[in-house]
Symmetry: C2
Subunit: 126 residues, 2 copies
């Protein structure tokens, strides 16, 4: 079970990170996600890191890279479910997660993407 699944819901993609990501699985995730954005014309990507207990510069960079790739494909990335300890570590490491927006949980992340899209489409799964 090395591949992180990308779930589609309306024009959102949801990724829940639960495994310890290695170089190879990160590359696969980035490819899968890019493909999924194009295939599903997704407007937003939500990455849930509730299960991530330890974060390092590798994970931090991965999140930034995913956000950059998504932006190229016209989708916004929101990281949700960050544990307090993870937030503290990120700041201590001096990692700012450039270009990545965060929300407290999945629900707030979805609301954030919905607000952005306003009334211009059936933007969010119903």
């Amino acid at each position: 079970m090395e591949r992180v699944p990308v779930l589609k819901l309306g024009d959102l993609l949801i990724v829940s990170i639960q495994i310890d990501l290695q170089d190879q699985s990160v590359l696969m995730l980035q490819e899968d996600l890019a493909d999924a954005i194009v295939d599903s014309r997704a407007r937003g990507v939500i990455i849930d890191i509730t299960a991530v207990e330890i974060v390092d510069s590798f994970i931090g960079r991965m999140l930034s890279t995913i956000a950059s790739i998504s932006r190229m494909l016209d989708a916004e990335t929101i990281v949700v479910g960050m544990r307090p300890a993870v937030a503290i570590t990120l700041v201590e490491l001096g990692l700012s997660l450039g270009g990545v927006r965060t929300a407290l949980n999945l629900e707030k992340g979805v609301a954030m993407l919905k607000d952005r899209d306003g009334a211009d489409s059936g933007a969010v799964p119903e």
Copy 2:
């Protein structure tokens, strides 16, 4: 990262199974899920098994148990993202996933729960 996160979206709970579940993690998942159903007054539970490549009677029983617990708490369980090979194995093993409904993917699972609730509430995340 042994704990499977339970994501809340509207009155749905979404669980994406990606790790090899052991006895202990299954028990934790069942407890977390039961707590989450009560805390969030969820009406539906969607279990995504896209990442599950191999299924055995242990996993099959776990899915049935989760569905039974959820039903006790007035929430319906739908298993989504089953791989073709997994479906074949389940049938060959004679496991029928009693009491568990399935849908092709997350989107169809959400639609199924929405249909059930009809217009009686803002049943599905918007």
